[in-house]
Amino acid sequence: MTEKLLARAGAVRVAGVVAAALGLVTVLLPWAYGKTALDNMTYFFGPSFLQLCYAILLLVALVALAAKWFRGRLGRFAKAVAWADTAKAAGLGAAGYALACLVAIAVQNGGLVMIEPGGWAAFGLALVTGGAALVLPGSAKPTLGKLKSPPWVQILAIAAAMAVVLFAAAYELNRADIEDFLVFGCFAVAVVVVGRAAGLFGWLSLAAANNRRVLSLAAFAVAFAFPFTQNGSDANMSVANQVLIFAATAMGLNIVVGLVGLLDMGYIAFLGAGAFTAAVLSKSAFATLSVDLPFPVTVLISGVVASLLGLLIGTPTLRVSGDYLAIVTLAFGEIFRITMNNLDGVDGPNITNGSNGVPAIPNLDFFGFNLGQVHHFLGVDLGRQSNYYWLLLVVIAVVIVVFSNLAHSRIGRGWVAIREDELAAEAMGVNTFALKLLAFAGGAFLAGMAGSVKAYRDTAVSPDQFVFLESAFLLAAVVLGGMGTIGGVLIGATLLKLLPEKLRFFEDYRLLLFGALMVLMMRFRPEGIVADERRQLEFHDADEELAEEVEEDLVSHHSLLNPETDRGAVA
């Protein structure tokens, strides 16, 4: 009985491998009839980049299926990979990707007839491969995440991963056609799914946890290099700047919502306070308090004004909590906008020029380096947005360091204690009111700093930039990305600013889609894309297995007592 089953499994495996091998051949065939579809898939023996992406997925599936036959000869590393799950993910991923390609070809060239037999074969063979892997027995949980490896390997892996991210992001952002954008997006998603299934991400995250400094430096280096991939175009850099401003503000909100657990629905006011402060103090002809200050001083003043506003709103409102606080802060956000509208010299003193705001803010100039001009460097034209991008990169670096250092201090522990049980925190000697106020003021300071750069980048500040919808999006970025985390909020901010920009064609349905996305997220992954190890538990209360897993992670990643021995014990 079992022998029969085993024999059949062997046959299925052979079929899967053969299908994968044949599938690899299809990239040497044309997939499309017209040259304009995707990146020209019309050549014999000349695979295009997107066809090679398909080949990569299928190759992984082939190797994963065949790995069973070489089990005895596999190394330590390869033995820890969940091959069966990898084969499943890669095979089905390749099929899904091929399908996306076919749909894109049909849409771009006008009809299914534009798909060559090679394309159909690619889809079919990937489907067979994936199907075979699906039928075969699954594998045990990957143990890759617990594998020890030499530090240089870890660092190399981080560098390689970062390089891949940079390349993929640059390629993706430079797609002009929406179909190309979505097809490559499908590939990226497939790669992520395969990496997860194989356990590669577990291993990478361990490597990242062991080399936090290397990881941050690598991430920063990649971010720094990004403008050089844009061939002098400023379009993507403009989006990137919006993302960075948004992310810095969201990081401030992350202190309030993620760490302390206070719901603030009017956060955009703090960004606005910073922006208006910088605008009013700028050398614009419309600025009412025009003072010639060095920019770093302006940034600090903007931050201080925003945090004063935070104190102003916090002192009376922090006595209420939960839903009540949400409503009060929501009202505060509106009060801010309306006040800015009314400081026009008619209803009040003229500070903001009312609804006109402060336009024509001149570009920044650091020691003769004008941020408004195009600079030529390393053979690439770097435009205005690139210059501001680097300035914003400095701001976000500061914001991240401040957030992270505060979170990992007695203050951060006090914040989390308040989130967990406010009464117990107070009874343990934590000054809850002062800490909540500090969170409000501190978060506002970060948002205010971002606001001052926003004023110069946008060259104009007006009250209608700071509507409630923006506050809602900020909150969504934090919740979607993962409350209390740095990476999550960065990802959340990127998605929320990038997708609307790239997916212009359904602009009208943007909010509808966004709402649906939020509902789905809250149903299936309420802790956000990048879950805080502890936060995850709050949403999956009954999940004992998860609790144990998180604990194991905590022990292996950052043991407080004796890092070496503990890590060794788990691995």
Partner: protein
């Protein structure tokens, strides 16, 4: 335990025990209900005092009056002669720490982090220290970590330092709560039903732990329903009934007082009359 864990609260060897905590005529009224009526209590250095009474007698309310969670309607609480400040966090700073009847740990923090929150009120690093990682932050962080480690070892949780507190077994959660309270460096520890829900073995361990805490020089005030536990442990026992002190005396005196038995079990006459 190598170095002395506690700086304050050492018992004067041989000398007379001073009055540590004194509650004078504490009354707590909620609208028309008087939950605690004119309760007076003295706790001396290094003493273990028990607080017993039937459910609803006002024991926990009295505890809350002592720790600043409630402001007594009238009466006064002093610690070494100084009136206790009105806010819970200031009471902790003055040297009175407590645990809760229904465990109130920070569930999604590790055991270590829970205890380190307890050191909050004895550390001073501010925002600037934390952001720029100044010496004060690093020094305090090191000291807090070491201290928390010692305390976890003291209560027997050294090997669970990185366990999330929600995943600890019930008895360990109770002990962790005690470690967290000890981290605030108190001279008086208030325990609200420390053995509730424990099996006899765990109760014995808890008894042992409380004695060891006393030996460190702390005074302890403990609410409990387990009479064997109370009479084993306490130098003095106070019985509250309907918010009033019924009797304040040694274990034997309280144990043999017919009024205490009546308060718990009802009077034989009343039962006969039913």
């Amino acid at each position: 335990m190598s170095a002395p864990v506690f700086a304050s609260g050492a018992t004067k060897p041989g000398g007379e025990r001073g009055v540590l905590l004194e509650a004078r005529d504490v009354t707590m009224r909620f609208g028309g209900l008087t939950a605690v009526k004119q309760v007076s209590l003295q706790v001396h250095d290094g003493e273990i005092v028990g607080l017993i009474g039937p459910n609803g007698a006002g024991k926990t309310t009295f505890f809350n009056c002592l720790t600043g969670l409630y402001k007594p309607t009238s009466g006064q609480v002093t610690l070494r002669g100084d009136v206790l400040p009105p806010k819970p966090r200031d009471v902790v700073k003055a040297g009175v720490a407590r645990t809760f009847q229904n465990i109130r740990l920070f569930h999604n923090m590790t055991a270590m982090e829970n205890v380190m929150v307890g050191t909050y009120c004895r550390t001073k690093a501010n925002v600037i220290d934390a952001i720029f990682r100044l010496p004060r932050h690093r020094r305090e962080e090191k000291a807090s970590t070491a201290r928390a480690g010692e305390l976890l070892a003291f209560v027997g949780l050294a090997d669970k330092a990185n366990t999330l507190s929600r995943n600890l077994p019930y008895g360990d959660q109770r002990r962790l709560e005690i470690a967290r309270a000890l981290a605030t460096d108190p001279s008086l520890l208030l325990l609200d039903e420390p053995t509730a829900g424990m099996n006899p073995n765990e109760t014995r361990d808890a008894e042992d732990l409380i004695f060891r805490i006393r030996d460190l020089g702390l005074a302890i005030l403990v609410i409990e329903h387990d009479m064997r536990f109370i009479f084993n442990l306490c130098d003095r026992v106070l019985c509250l009934v309907q918010g009033e002190v019924l009797i304040d005396g040694t274990g034997d005196e309280v144990q043999n007082d017919p009024r205490v038995i009546e308060a718990y079990l009802g009077s034989p006459q009343a039962e006969a009359g039913d």
